[in-house]
């Protein structure tokens, strides 16, 4: 479904992604494990097209500080230079890190804003299904999103992405700032998504412990490069992972 070939991203002279290649197959949950500054968010932004948008806007202003090499292939089509709005139309939706919501709009309004590209009927149905997946959100329909807890905001962020009806859901550090219990709730919801909706998920995370048991395959990123890959079980059993992420 998604293939990244020899991707390199430079911010001026700083190399954020270094010759990175990976694949995500339809129906999989793929994890991207890495510590802070490993390049996870840059990769997610490259896949969603946000980097292309930043580059276009910089170029208009006469500066060009972002450079991209390599290819991003989605369902056989090269989307390396495609704008984010076009990628969303193709089915790639990103939930950015730190669960960004529209803080001054209500929960329902957030979901409606997310349905910009969809028809009214589709939005209505999607909102109902979001409240089925996250019943806690259903009780907070009219509350301003800025007044939700971190966990509720994360549910809302994923719910907003679901309204778009993605084929490939990119989750950038969905567990960041959540309590262990809430991390469990979010991971269960991700598994449920895969099982019930068949959505393919690529999630980046620095917390390996709740992620590795759930993913089909995973990659470990360090300094913008892939250092390890394998199934969730293989990565869990790997001594380097145990040492770096589980402190064993």
């Amino acid at each position: 479904m998604l293939e990244v070939r020899n991707l390199m991203v430079f911010f001026e002279n700083a190399l954020a992604i270094n010759d990175l290649s990976l694949q995500v197959h339809a129906g999989e949950i793929v994890g991207l494990i890495g510590s802070n500054s490993a390049g996870k968010t840059t990769l997610m932004n490259a896949l969603s097209g946000l980097i292309i948008d930043m580059r276009i806007k910089e170029k208009r202003r006469g500066g060009e500080r972002i450079t991209l090499y390599g290819n991003i292939i989605f369902n056989g089509e090269d989307i390396t230079a495609t704008k984010p709005s076009e990628r969303v139309k193709k089915g790639i939706v990103l939930c950015r890190e730190r669960h960004p919501v529209f803080p001054e709009s209500s929960v329902v309004e957030n979901l409606k804003i997310a349905g910009y590209l969809k028809k009214r009927q589709q939005i209505r149905e999607s909102i109902e299904s979001v409240f089925d997946i996250f019943p806690a959100l259903g009780k907070l329909k009219s509350r301003k999103a800025g007044f939700l807890s971190g966990g509720e905001q994360q549910m809302l962020t994923i719910g907003m992405a679901l309204v778009v009806r993605p084929k490939l859901l990119l989750l950038d550090e969905p567990l960041l700032g959540l309590s262990p219990m809430m991390q469990q709730v979010v991971m269960e919801a991700i598994v449920e998504l895969k099982q019930n909706s068949g959505i393919t998920v690529l999630l980046s995370e620095q917390f390996a412990r709740p992620v590795l048991p759930v993913i089909d395959r995973g990659y470990v990123v360090e300094n913008g490069m892939l250092s390890l890959s394998g199934s969730g079980q293989e990565l869990m059993a790997n001594p380097e992972i145990k040492s770096a992420y589980f402190g064993i």
């Binding site: 984010p84 709009s105 910009y116 800025g146 907003m160």
Partner: protein, 290 residues
Amino acid sequence: MFLGTIVYALVNSVILALMAIGFNLTFGISGVANFAYGALYIFSAYASWMLMNLLHIPYLPAAVISILLTTLLGALMYRFVLLRIRGQVLSEVIATFGIGLAILELFRYLGFVGFEYTLPVFIDRSFFIAGTYVDMQRIIIVIAGVLIVVALWIFTHHTAVGLAFRGIAQDERTALSLGIDSDWIATLSVSFGAGLAALAATIIIPLGSISPGEGYDVLIKALAVCIIGGLGSTGGVIVASFIIGFAERFTDSYIGSHWTMIVSLAAILIVLIVKPSGLFGKQKELEERI
């Protein structure tokens, strides 16, 4: 006299709100302070006048055409000028002010100055309200003001584009990652703002005459209202319009007309000293700018 002053203060407040609401909409969504706003207001009025007097088109269709033309001009301004400098505040101000200056001074250069440049009132009647005569055009202004605010609320809360406006206003990157094209929405916000300026001109200009100088006045009034209310806040614009509108009319009636402008400017200064972000202005991170 007191009740009459209140009636005219109410009308004056609605006029100020109408003058400022388009400027506020554009700034709230795209962050562009459109200093050509007053020129767009006057452009629309002159366009209506030319369509009526040179092409002999009746006022209503002429007004509709000029509103559409002004809306298009706003969109072109964004696509060809503002797109490249968006986010660079000083460049935006200089560019939009330059465009506005060029439009207004072109009309002056072409000789569009004089009392013959007027637009007709919608209905030529007057009513005796609260001890004073009020003409139908002023009543229409108040009704139109209420309708426009209600329509704007419905637009931003119940339409896909309106909701996208609010999304972009709150978090452009998140909106982008959900498929909302920020360039397209910003283009729409500048063109809608221009359209609202044109709509305001269509309703308000029949009370006086069209002149290039009026464009500068409209810009200053729109800025004053938005600064006092808090740039980007529609609620703030309405409250600020009433504060300035009532202050101006009461100063005019009880102190002297030459103090009117001083009262407005003093209001801006006081608000800037006490609450620099305006009465309803919030920190950017927390605000919904519609």
